[in-house]
Symmetry: C2
Subunit: 353 residues, 2 copies
C-alpha cells in the first residue's frame, strides 16, 4: 500500500524549510523564525496552515508579492500601543516580531496592542498567541483576509474569514483557541466534495444569496456563511475593524488574495494584544485556576457515544507531543513539493527518511 504521508523529525523538517527560505532571500534569523512557525503549526496537526503554504509563499517571494528582505518599521509607539509597517514582509516573520513587541509592552504596562499594516498571510495565529502564553501573558492574534463571508441576507463575499487566536497559560498545557469564522473551513468543504461526499445547504450561498451545496460557487460570486449567523458576522466585522481599519491595512476588497496575485503585496493587516496575568493575580494561582477549570470541563458528564470532552487546544497540544516523539506528519504530495522546491533552488538537502 502506498503511504499517504511521511513522518519527518521536527528539526529535520525545520532545517529543510529554513534552507529553502534562505535560498529565496530571507536572512538566516528571519528564515529561522518563519520555519519555526510553519513546522510548529504542522506539528500541532494544523496542516492546512503550516508548511503546506510554503510553495505559495516562495512563489510570492519570487514574483514580488512578498519582500523576503523586508525590514519591518515601527511607525508609531506610544505607551502600551505600537503600529508596525510590515513592509510587505513574510507574514510569519512580521507577526513574530510584532508579537515580541506586544510581549515587551505588556511586560512594561500590563497590557498592550500592536497593530500591523502591509503584512502578508500569517498562517496560524495560535503560534503568536502561544508566544505570549509562554511569557505568562494572555495572547490574542487576529488577521484580516480577503472577503469570503456573506453578510446575513446578502449575496457574495462581504468580509474575510478572519482568523482569531487566543492562548492562555495554565499549570499544564495552554488553552489555545484558533478559529476562523465560517461554519466550516472552505478547504474542508472542497475535500468533502472531492472525495464524493455532499455538504449541507447551510454552509454556503451562491451569487444570488441562495443556499447551495456546491462549494465551487465560491469561484463564481458565492460566499461562505459565518457560524452563528449575525453573531459570527458581527465578530467578523469587529475583527476587520481591529486588524484592518485600525492599522490602516487593506480593508475587505482592498486586500489582494495571496494565491491569485503572487506578484502583488496583499496589504494584509494584523492585531496583536497581550495581557500580563501577574497584574491581576499571582501567576501560579492563575495557572492552577485555569487548569482546574479545564479539568472541570474535560471531566463533565458525556452524552452517549461521546468518548472525550475537550478544552480548546487539547487536540493540537497532543498532536504536538506526538510529533515531537514520532516526527511531523507530512503528506506525500507536500513532501514531493518540498523536494521540487529544493531542487529548483539548487539545494542539496538531506531528504532521505
Amino acid at each position: 500500500m502506498d503511504k499517504t504521508e511521511v513522518r519527518v523529525p521536527f528539526d529535520k523538517l525545520k532545517e529543510i524549510v529554513r534552507s529553502i527560505l534562505v535560498s529565496v532571500g530571507l536572512s538566516a534569523p528571519d528564515a529561522e523564525i518563519a520555519a519555526d512557525v510553519l513546522v510548529t503549526t504542522d506539528a500541532r496537526g494544523v496542516s492546512s496552515h503550516g508548511v503546506y503554504a510554503l510553495p505559495g509563499y516562495v512563489r510570492q517571494m519570487r514574483e514580488g508579492g512578498i519582500d523576503p528582505r523586508a525590514d519591518i518599521a515601527v511607525l508609531e509607539e506610544s505607551g502600551a500601543t505600537c503600529l508596525i509597517d510590515g513592509k510587505n514582509g513574510m507574514g510569519q516573520v512580521v507577526s513574530v516580531k510584532a508579537t515580541r513587541k506586544a510581549i515587551e509592552l505588556a511586560r512594561k504596562y500590563g497590557t498592550s496592542v500592536v497593530c500591523v499594516r502591509n503584512s502578508s498571510h500569517f498562517g496560524a495565529g495560535a503560534y503568536y498567541a502561544m508566544m505570549c502564553a509562554k511569557e505568562n501573558q494572555i495572547g490574542i492574534a487576529i488577521s484580516n483576509a480577503t472577503p469570503v463571508l456573506a453578510a446575513p441576507g446578502g449575496c457574495g463575499p462581504a468580509v474575510g474569514n478572519n482568523p482569531i487566536a487566543v492562548a492562555v497559560p495554565t499549570a499544564d498545557d495552554p488553552v489555545v483557541l484558533d478559529i476562523a469564522l465560517s461554519i466550516v473551513a472552505v478547504g474542508k468543504m472542497m475535500n468533502i466534495v472531492k472525495s464524493g461526499g455532499t455538504i449541507p445547504d447551510n454552509w454556503i450561498t451562491d451569487e444570488e444569496g441562495r443556499p447551495s451545496t456546491d462549494p465551487y460557487v465560491l469561484d463564481r460570486g458565492g460566499a461562505a456563511l459565518p457560524f452563528g449567523g449575525y453573531k459570527g458576522f458581527g465578530i467578523a466585522v469587529i475583527t476587520e475593524i481591529l486588524a484592518a481599519v485600525l492599522p490602516g491595512a487593506g480593508v475587505t476588497k482592498e486586500l489582494r488574495d495571496w494565491l491569485l496575485y503572487p506578484h502583488l503585496p496583499t496589504r494584509t493587516g494584523h492585531f496583536f494584544a497581550a495581557i500580563d496575568v501577574s497584574r491581576f493575580m499571582p501567576v501560579q494561582a492563575f495557572k492552577e485556576r485555569v487548569s482546574l477549570f479545564g479539568k472541570e470541563i474535560r471531566g463533565g458528564k458525556r452524552a452517549a457515544g461521546v468518548e472525550r470532552l475537550y478544552m480548546p487546544g487539547d487536540m493540537e497540544n497532543e498532536a504536538e507531543r506526538k510529533s515531537m516523539l514520532s516526527g511531523v506528519a507530512v503528506p506525500i504530495h507536500l513532501w514531493k513539493a518540498l523536494k521540487e522546491l529544493a531542487e529548483e533552488e539548487g539545494l542539496s538537502l538531506d531528504m532521505e527518511l
Copy 2:
C-alpha cells in the same frame, strides 16, 4: 383593544427608575448611573436587559444579594491595568465606574484592561462599550454568568452564556456588537414555546445530552448549545477566563444565580478593555473609514426578499433615535410592576401618561 405597551418619555422613565433605586438605598449619583444604563438599554430596544430586570435587582437589594451602598475599591492598579472589587454592588454602577477607569487608563497608555470581581448582573454590555466609543476609543465589555451552555458532546451546563459587547466610534452611528453565546437567547426560546410555537432540536440538549425541543429541560439539567459548536464553546471558555478567572471572581458553578438566590452575592466577574484610536491613526480618518466599511456592508447586493443589510448595532441605534422622539416602549406588565415598586416604597411618583 388593550395596549400591550406604553411609550414613556426617556427622562420620565429614568426619573422613576432613579427614584426607586434611591428609595432602596442607592446614593443619588449611583442611582443616576444605574437608571441611565437601564433606561438607555430599553431605549435601544433591548428590553430583555434593561428596566425589565429592576424588580429583580430591587429584590436582591432588599434581601442582601446586592449592597446598594457598596463603595467599589481598586485592589491593584499598575500601568494600563486595574483590578476592582465591586463589593457586591449593583452591576451597572460597578461597571460604569470600571469603564471610566478603563477609559482613563487607555487615554494615558493607549490601551487598558480593567477586571472586576464581586460584581452583580451587569445588564447590557453595549452601554459600557459605547461609553468608550464616545471617547474615541474601541470598547470591550465581557461578563461571566451562571453556567447554561453545554460543552460539545457534554451533558448539562458547563459554562455561562457570557455576554460580549464591542463598540467602535464612526463618523455616524457607532458599530455596536452585543451578543451572548447561545444559538438563541433562552428567554426567546421560552417565548416561542409559550406562544404555541416549536423550536428546532439543535438549540438545546436534555440532561443526557440528547437533542430536545422542550426549553423546560433547562430546569432539569439540560443545557443550551453555543452557536458555532466548538467555536462558540471556545469563545465561551475564553470569556470565562477573562471575566472570571483573571479577576478572581466566581468561576462557572461558583457563581450564584441572581434570580434564584437574591439573598446571596453572586460573585460575578467582568472584563473591560479600551483602545485609544488616536494612537494608530487620526480619529477622524478612522471614523470615516469605519463608516465607509459600514456603507459597503449595508449597500451590498441583497438576496431575494431581503429588505436591508445591517451593520452590528444598526437596529439598536435606530430604536434609540425613535425612543428619544416618541418615548421608550415599556410593556404594560412592566409598567404595572414599576407602579407596584413605587407603591411598596411609598413613593408618590408622577406615573400618568
